[in-house]
Amino acid sequence: MRTWVRRGGLSTLVFLLPLLVIFGVFSWLPIVRAALMSVQQTNLVTAPEFVGLENFESVLGDPLFWTAVQNTGLFALIALVFGYPLPLVLAVLMSEVRRFRGLFSAIAYLPVVVPPVVAVLMWKFFYDARPDGVFNTILGWVGLGPYQWLQSADTALPSLVLEATWAAAGGTVIIYLAALLGVPAELYDAADVDGASIWRKIWHVTLPQLRGVLLVTLILQIIGTSQVFLEPFLFTGGGPANSTLSVLLLIYNYAFGSSLGGDYGAATALSLMLAVFLAALSAVYFWLTRSWSTS
């Protein structure tokens, strides 16, 4: 004990304490309480009642749960197919440009700086389904549309992905640009000597050098899109006819959808299920890709 104190153990602990307290009170306590609430029936006003796994059963039995899972999966998939490669392409293009690179990265990053609510309101305006709406007018010039955008169950979800990709791409572009600077120039020189085309250089030098970063951004994107809330909440409220209801929006609706005290048990049960699913997914992902990572 004495040696521990003399070696600085005590002061380390004292310095650590504020962080532990703050982290404990504001991060871990809510998580533990949520886990506890998932097996309780409570309206946060009267005393909670233990109900075992009933909340989980009621969530799994709710037809909206499967709608939400399906929508969220589709959102993540479309975002992955279209949204994931985009920042990489942009970053590679921008790294090739010698002049105005700073300007380009600032422009690419700008959407990230726009407050999300403002961005959504702006895009709502763009998505006006009238033939003289902004996007419909622009597409009309090349003979396309008018499209229904948010006003149809078929196009609402892809419309949300489009805005979400626009809003998030900038952040990832910056990460890729930073990683690209770390690629040793000799590799490109060597490829030049071998007479490699630009595509072969990207394929054989750039991508393999970025794979560590690419692996992390991929799982971050999957986790991020699985928790999509802002876009469906602000754009469509989950409509039309539940076509954009996401898992997180459903959690929100469970908790706050009824004005008479929500179903906090079901909300926390679904939150817990989502957290466990994402943790398991990440674990499997890192296990599967452990041999590809750079380290």
Partner: protein, 457 residues
């Protein structure tokens, strides 16, 4: 030396922690600051214009002058399901707040409202209320927990300017649903704006579908003793949705936005982009205070009711209630505020005049058509008192004021109302956004869903 420095750092770190904890636990709610009873009351909707807030603060000062032992703090407030739930659960509701009629019973049953029976009796008008209206704020044994402050009926709001532009007579609002359809088509074709639009989001879709269903002779629930049966799949609802579908897909007269809630549809209507909407008869206040409507545009008529005894007009209203967590002194003070701000004007001439004058001086709407919370004679008397201060285009609302008392008023469904409305939102959205939507299937699915919600209790 080293150990002193170490102790000093350790002590200062400990102080930081102690400070943080103290900051977390400090409490600010002192109910009796300086010997006065402090209460918080809801004021106006966020986004109301400054003059409206000024008028409200003037009324607070008048109240405090009359009750020197009460200290009133006001708080912006707009009742929405999600925010109310959060405030209720988090214990942050003000001392006095308002809820819609539909939530009164359930909040009382759950013991979440303070008992105001004695206070209201003390004010002398407990027995004067319209019995049907008071019911929504009463417990089963007749105790008063919510004071009905305003009652509305759903009306048809229309834009007189768009009517004129479309070649329609603004002084001849539609009297049947067939006319609503032809008028909407004419407005859409001649002005390019939406002829008719309907709310679909945040439970308002269900609320308005229910209104339309009532008007066409249907009902969404039937009560047999203790058992409530969902009757969503009824001929009235089927006709309501069919009419909406025809206006949307055959006539294309409903514009291009089908995701509206109360706030956004009012905004669009006030901006002159919608010809007709259904809405509570009291929305002019918000159209004026929040959306700056041009008074000359505004027209209000009664909702057309289908012929037959079963057609009814959906009505509702607002209850003022006091937080159960307030101290007895605060509850008494809260009840006094309810009497002063919401009720006294209907019964006392000086209170009516003071209220109307204060609002009129700040250019806030005075004299909007209301439904009686007491009896019609009392309301007529009140309207007489405030006549000199009326500053809204009452003449443009006469089709409502003249017709409303001939209509059969029907209360909102009682069991799990807001949850039922949420299910119906989806139905209305599906009909308006999917041309192939099958109304029969939608209604029978919704019926089963709502029945399950009701049975869950």
């Amino acid at each position: 030396m080293r150990s002193i420095r170490k102790t000093a750092t350790a002590v200062s770190a400990a102080l930081v922690v102690a400070g943080l904890l103290a900051a977390c636990s400090s409490s600010s709610d002192d109910p009796a600051a300086g010997g006065k009873t402090a209460i918080t009351v809801v004021s106006l909707k966020p986004g109301s214009e400054q003059a409206a807030f000024d008028a409200f603060e003037n009324q607070v000062r008048q109240f405090e002058a009359a009750n020197p032992d009460i200290d009133v703090t006001s708080q912006e407030y707009e009742w929405t399901g999600p925010t109310f739930t959060a405030q209720l659960a988090g214990g942050t509701l003000p001392t006095v707040f308002t809820v819609p009629f539909t939530d009164g019973k359930a909040l009382i049953e759950r013991g979440q409202l303070a008992d105001l029976t004695e206070h209201v009796r003390g004010f002398g008008y407990a027995d004067k209320f319209n019995a049907t209206v008071l019911q929504s704020g009463q417990s089963d044994d007749g105790g008063i927990f919510g004071v009905p402050t305003a009652a509305y009926g759903v009306g048809l709001h229309y834009n007189r300017t768009l009517f004129a532009q479309a070649g329609l007579d603004p002084d001849k609002p539609p009297a049947t649903w067939d006319e609503v359809r032809t008028y909407a088509k004419q407005i859409a074709e001649r002005t390019g704006q939406a002829g008719y639009a309907q709310m679909t989001e945040e439970n308002t879709g269900g609320w308005m579908l229910t209104s339309l269903t009532y008007a066409l002779g249907g009902r969404m629930q039937t009560v047999n003793g203790d058992k409530v049966e969902a009757t969503i799949d009824n001929p009235g609802a089927r006709e309501a949705l069919t009419r909406l579908r025809d206006m949307r897909w055959q006539d294309n007269s409903m514009g291009s936005n089908f995701l509206y809630d109360w706030g956004t549809i009012n905004q669009e209507f006030a901006a002159g982009r919608i010809g007709m909407i259904m809405g509570g008869s009291d929305i002019y206040e918000s159209l004026a205070q929040q959306n700056n409507i041009n008074p000359a545009d505004y027209g209000l008529s009664v909702l057309p009711l289908a012929p037959g005894a079963s057609a009814g007009l959906l009505g509702g209203g607002t209850l003022a209630a006091v937080n159960i967590k307030a101290t007895p002194e605060q509850q008494a003070a809260g009840a006094k505020w309810i009497d002063f701000y919401y009720m006294a004007k209907y019964l006392k001439q000086d209170a009516a005049e003071l209220d109307a004058r204060t609002l009129a001086e700040s250019d806030q709407p005075v004299g909007l058509p209301e439904l009686p919370v007491f009896d019609k004679a009392t309301l007529d008397q009140y309207n007489e008192w405030i006549k000199p201060y009326v500053n809204v285009p009452l003449d443009q609302m006469r089709f409502f004021s003249d017709g409303i008392f001939d209509q059969d008023l029907a209360g909102e469904p009682t069991a799990r109302t807001q949850e039922m409305y949420a299910v119906l939102d989806t139905v209305v959205q599906a009909v308006l956004t999917d041309q192939g939507a099958d109304i029969t299937t939608l209604l029978s699915t919704a019926d089963a869903e709502v029945q399950a919600i009701i049975d869950r209790g």
